[in-house]
């Protein structure tokens, strides 16, 4: 049994929860997010040589970085940063959360998801900006919780990164 703790970070209502709802095994209801501030899900990813259970810690979306519970990230080996493509501020929020985590626990592998790619007419993040970020070598995916587009790709990518 190979497991890795993964934290999902992102601003308020970027769609983290709905992003995983259809793609992971979950036994806890979403009320946990508002009560305990975290919800645990599991995503089994089959790599060519092994299967990894990603234990996903879906941390409650916080736009106020100050109240973000960094202690939940202890022991994590990777991050899923989720940005709402229709709200530019959520990119800053996601990147700030990542900085906060790295300051506390050091650098760790992550994938950056621009969610709500189905809402093309409200999309505000220009391609040029995404390409700029890709130049850092970051793994970036445009995902849609609605269509499921690229969600599995992103988890597969992260799984191979954290098991290296």
């Amino acid at each position: 049994m190979l497991q890795k703790k993964i934290c999902m970070l992102g601003g308020f209502s970027v769609g983290k929860t709905s992003l995983v709802r259809r793609f992971v095994k979950s036994i806890f209801s979403e009320t946990y997010l508002t009560t305990v501030g975290v919800k645990i899900d599991k995503k089994s990813v089959a790599l060519p040589d092994k299967t990894v259970d990603l234990i996903l810690w879906d941390l409650a979306g916080e736009d106020d970085i100050g109240s973000f519970r960094v202690s939940h990230v202890r022991g994590a080996t990777g991050l899923v940063l989720v940005v709402d493509g229709t709200r530019a501020a959520t990119l800053t929020a996601a990147l700030t959360l990542r900085e906060r985590v790295e300051a506390e626990f050091g650098a760790m592998p992550f994938v950056l998801l621009f969610n709500k790619s189905d809402l093309a007419d409200q999309w505000v993040i220009p391609d040029s900006e995404i390409n700029e970020l890709r130049k850092f070598g970051w793994q970036i995916y445009l995902t849609s919780a609605l269509s499921g587009e690229h969600v599995d790709d992103a988890f597969l990518q992260l799984a191979s990164m954290v098991t290296k």
Binding site: I27, I55, G66
Partner: protein
């Protein structure tokens, strides 16, 4: 500028207020500029118009924008509505940017006041907010309390009258625990359904074990969620790092968590686990940490390194206590509640209003149980009515006082109404107490209870025994048995007779004492018999027996006991054996061992003969005769044996006559000196007369000694004896090899083999060139001089070095090199003078070489005069060549 040129006087100020522009100053400035531009203007102009519309225009041109901006801001600040809207826009950002500590400090008083206010005006709002937090906590707390009450009530009711109840009461008495503790211990029903071993750092599941028939959702998710909840609690309530959430309870389920350095063990328990279970679970966690601490510390999500842990967890899951088959406790609860309701109307109400009364009643119950457990107290009736306690029954006057037992129970004595009838308990311990009171047993009697019987043991006079017997008869009707058979009658006569018998037995056991007759008559003791004078004194044996010596009348006849130990004593006294003799008894025989002079042995023999008539055998055969002559002869013989063992000594004849010793034979001069061997043998040398003929022993050892002395082999040669042959091995100069061969031939005639086949001529080839160099060196002298000139110093230095090197190498090869320094002269002058000068030259060179470190004993000196010229003496060169010292090398 204005200070030097200021012709203009400004009689009035046009500025109406301070905020407006200073018109006068502006006007001055403009005029000043105009003057500088056009000097003529200076002459023409002499004043400022009171109001100049152009000034106003200029002002508008310069600052109109600022004026409008200012008026907008002023308006904003003056209008509270607008100002509030503006501050509201920036307040969240400002609050976010403010340092948290300071902001918190600044806001705290306001927030506190606000909360206070809110509670005063409408407590409902805050109650609603906190409701989800408080209610479950309160509910849980109340629930637990009620549970506990019910549990103890249930269990107590269930077990008061059952067989288990009696058994557990006994156990409580035996272990000293309270009855309710014992009941709880046996009634707790629980089962560990799951065990999770969780990595402390990441919350990842390391291992999980489930009991049979227990289900749970995905353990991996549960594991992480448990950690998240731990974090949540810790963060929410500012708990310290080291503490953790150790118990979560949900209905029938409990989650116990034990935290280790690297992993947390969470057990999911259904039912009521006892507190000791914590210890057991903690122990398992400890053992897991001990066994796999490294793997736990390095755990990164791969649990394949920790597969063995599961077996250890399994031991926990197997821990459970099955429910007893005594029926469902809640039924008993209902019954109990009904009973309680009937027993007292008030009780139910008071129980409902609080647990104080409940606790009080349970203390009363504890007191009653205590009374019931008391021997000699029988509780016939007890009840609780209208807040008063009533108790009635029987008690033995010797039993504990029920009133005094009340203290410490916290039951108010004023509320207790007791009615006790006295009775005589037939329980053995009370009978015992009463017997002790009535019989007054003497100190020598001990009364005790043995299997419900009262047993008296010890010694007592017959009067007491009679009284005890009467008491035993009285008791036999219904009471415990009183056994007095173990009390010994110790009336004085009986006691004295017993003591006398003990003394007589003691005498009879004594060796050398034979008791023929003894009797007791009128309080007097008579005894008669035989005793050996060497045996113990019968009188001296009396003290300690408590027999009065005055009343003892003894008649003893002496006799000689033939018991070995008496015979031994007598022999020791009569024979005076020397210190070297030891007498002992072996199998009834007396044995003497050691050394003694013949005189003593003769006396011992006489004694043995006397004893032979009926007495034990006296064996003195092991005593060696050590009269001085015998000893001297022994010493002589050991000396002769020693000589005979010597190589190179042949003893031909020896004898001992008249205290003198005579010896003759052959001895090799190299053999040990017979005289020297005498020392330490104890033989007096003055009494030894020796006659030794010298002979040459052909014993190889002696031959080797002789050869070593005569041939003086060099160090490089080794002589050894191998299987009776003498073997010479090594290298030697040719001359020595020749001598060895000659010796071998001579010895062969005597039958001794001297093997020289392994003797080789010394190979001096490497020395030869050095020898050549030394022998071709000459030290030259001036005519008539015996000291060489300074030009010879290098040659001398070199020669000294070569000689030293040669001597050293030769020594290594086991030969000694010697150097002959021969002095020479030319033919000038008289022959005798030449001879002495040549010798003197050789001596000088010897001295000079010695000075250069050559050992003088290696250097031989001679003067050859003119007799050994190097070249024919016919020229100046020839004579100078002949004035020299030459060197020849000889090897020994």
């Amino acid at each position: 500028m204005t200070s030097t040129v200021d012709p203009i006087s400004l009689p009035q100020r046009t500025a109406s207020n301070d905020t407006e522009i200073d018109r006068e100053a502006l006007a001055r400035l403009l005029i000043e500029i105009a003057r500088n531009v056009d000097p003529d203007y200076r002459a023409r102009f002499d004043g400022i118009p009171a109001a100049d519309p152009r000034m106003e225009t200029l002002r508008q041109l310069l600052v109109s924008r600022e004026i409008s901006e200012l008026s907008r801001v002023t308006h904003l600040l003056d209008e509270p509505q607008q100002l509030a809207a503006a501050v509201g826009d920036v307040l969240p950002i400002a609050a976010a940017r403010a340092p948290h500590a300071q902001l918190g400090e600044a806001l705290a008083p306001a927030v506190e006041r606000a909360v206070q206010r809110s509670i005063q005006t409408s407590p409902r709002t805050l109650t609603d907010i906190l409701y989800p937090v408080f209610l479950p906590a309160i509910r849980k707390s109340i629930g637990e309390k009620i549970d506990q009450t019910f549990q103890s009530l249930n269990e107590t009711l269930r077990h008061i009258f059952t067989w288990h109840g009696l058994k557990w009461r006994f156990e409580a008495w035996r272990t000293g625990a309270s009855f309710s503790e014992v009941v709880l211990k046996h009634s707790l029903v629980y089962r560990i359904e799951h065990i999770f071993l969780i990595n402390r750092n990441s919350g990842l599941l390391i291992a999980h074990v489930t009991a049979d028939n227990a289900n749970s959702e995905d353990p991996q998710l549960i594991s992480s969620m448990l950690s998240a909840i731990q974090d949540f609690v810790k963060d929410s309530f500012n708990e310290k790092e080291q503490s953790s959430l150790d118990t979560i309870r949900f209905g029938d389920l409990r989650l116990w968590s034990e935290v280790g350095p690297f992993a947390t063990l969470v057990s999911v328990i259904r039912g009521n686990p006892p507190e000791e279970l914590h210890e057991i679970v903690r122990d398992v966690l400890l053992r897991i940490h001990e066994g796999s601490s490294e793997a736990l510390a390095e755990f990164d999500g791969d649990s394949s390194q920790l597969t063995g842990v599961e077996a250890q967890l399994r031991t926990c899951v197997e821990l459970k206590q099955e429910e007893s088959h005594q029926g469902f406790p809640w039924l008993v609860v209902v019954a109990a509640l009904l009973l309680l309701g009937l027993a007292g109307g008030g009780f139910f109400l008071s129980w409902q209003s609080g647990q104080r009364w409940q606790a009080y009643v349970s203390r009363w119950q504890a007191y009653v149980s205590r009374l019931e457990a008391q021997p000699g107290i029988i509780v016939a009736e007890q009840q609780v009515r209208d807040g008063q306690f009533y108790i009635a029954g029987l008690r033995d006057p010797l039993a504990a006082d029920p009133q005094s037992l009340l203290s410490g129970t916290e039951v108010d004595p004023a509320q207790v109404h007791s009615q006790w009838q006295f009775y005589q308990s037939l329980e053995p311990e009370f009978v015992l107490k009463r017997l002790k009171g009535s019989l007054a047993p003497p100190d020598s009697v001990r009364l005790s209870i043995d299997n419900d019987r009262i047993v008296a043991e010890g010694e007592a006079p017959d009067t007491w025994i009679d009284r005890a017997r009467a008491a035993a008869r009285l008791l036999s009707a219904g009471g415990p048995e009183f056994d007095i058979s173990k009390v010994r009658d110790v009336s004085p006569d009986v006691l004295e007779a017993e003591r006398w018998q003990a003394y007589v037995s003691r005498l009879e056991a004594q060796p050398g004492i034979i008791v023929a007759q003894q009797k007791i008559h009128d309080g007097q003791f008579y005894i008669a018999g035989l005793r050996d004078p060497l045996s113990a004194d019968p009188q001296s044996l009396l003290p300690g027996t408590q027999v009065n010596p005055v009343r003892v009348h003894s008649k003893w006849q002496f006799y000689q006991s033939l018991e070995p130990e008496f015979v031994l004593k007598r022999l020791t006294a009569s024979l005076y054996p020397p210190d070297t003799v030891r007498l002992s008894i072996v199998n009834d025989r007396i044995v003497a061992e050691g050394e003694a002079p013949d005189i003593w042995i003769d006396r011992a023999r006489a004694a043995a003969r006397q004893l032979s008539a009926g007495g034990p055998e006296f064996d003195f055969s092991k005593v060696r005769d050590v009269s001085p002559e015998a000893r001297a002869a022994e010493h002589w013989q050991s000396y002769v044996s020693r000589l005979e063992a010597q190589p190179g000594i042949i003893v031909a004849q020896q004898s001992a006559r008249g205290g003198h010793f005579y010896i003759s034979g052959l001895r090799d001069p190299l053999a040990a000196d017979p005289q020297a061997l005498l020392s330490g043998t104890g033989v007096d040398p003055a009494r030894v007369h020796s006659q030794w003929q010298f002979y040459q022993s052909l014993d190889p050892k002696f031959v080797v000694k002789r050869l070593t002395a005569s041939l003086t082999p060099p160090k490089s040669v080794r002589l050894s004896i191998i299987q009776g042959r003498i073997v010479v091995v090594g290298e030697a100069p040719a001359t020595w090899v020749n001598r060895a061969q000659t010796a071998a031939e001579q010895l062969s005639a005597d039958g001794v083999v001297l093997d020289v086949s392994q003797l080789h001529e010394l190979d001096l080839a490497e020395l030869n060139h050095l020898r050549e160099a030394i022998q071709t060196t000459d030290i030259f002298f001036s005519s008539g001089k015996v000291v060489p000139g300074p030009e010879q110093t290098p040659a001398l230095d070199r020669l000294a070095e070569q000689i030293k090197e040669f001597a050293q190498n030769a020594r290594k090869s086991g030969v000694t090199a010697r150097f002959m320094l021969t002095g020479h002269s030319d033919t000038t002058g008289r022959e005798t003078a030449n001879a002495s000068i040549s010798a003197a030259r050789a001596e000088t060179v010897r001295a000079l070489l010695n000075k250069r470190g050559v050992a003088p004993e290696l250097l031989l000196v001679r003067g050859a005069g003119t007799f050994e010229p190097a070249v024919p003496e016919n020229s100046q060169a020839g004579s100078s060549t002949n004035r020299r010292v030459s060197v020849t090398v000889n090897l020994d």
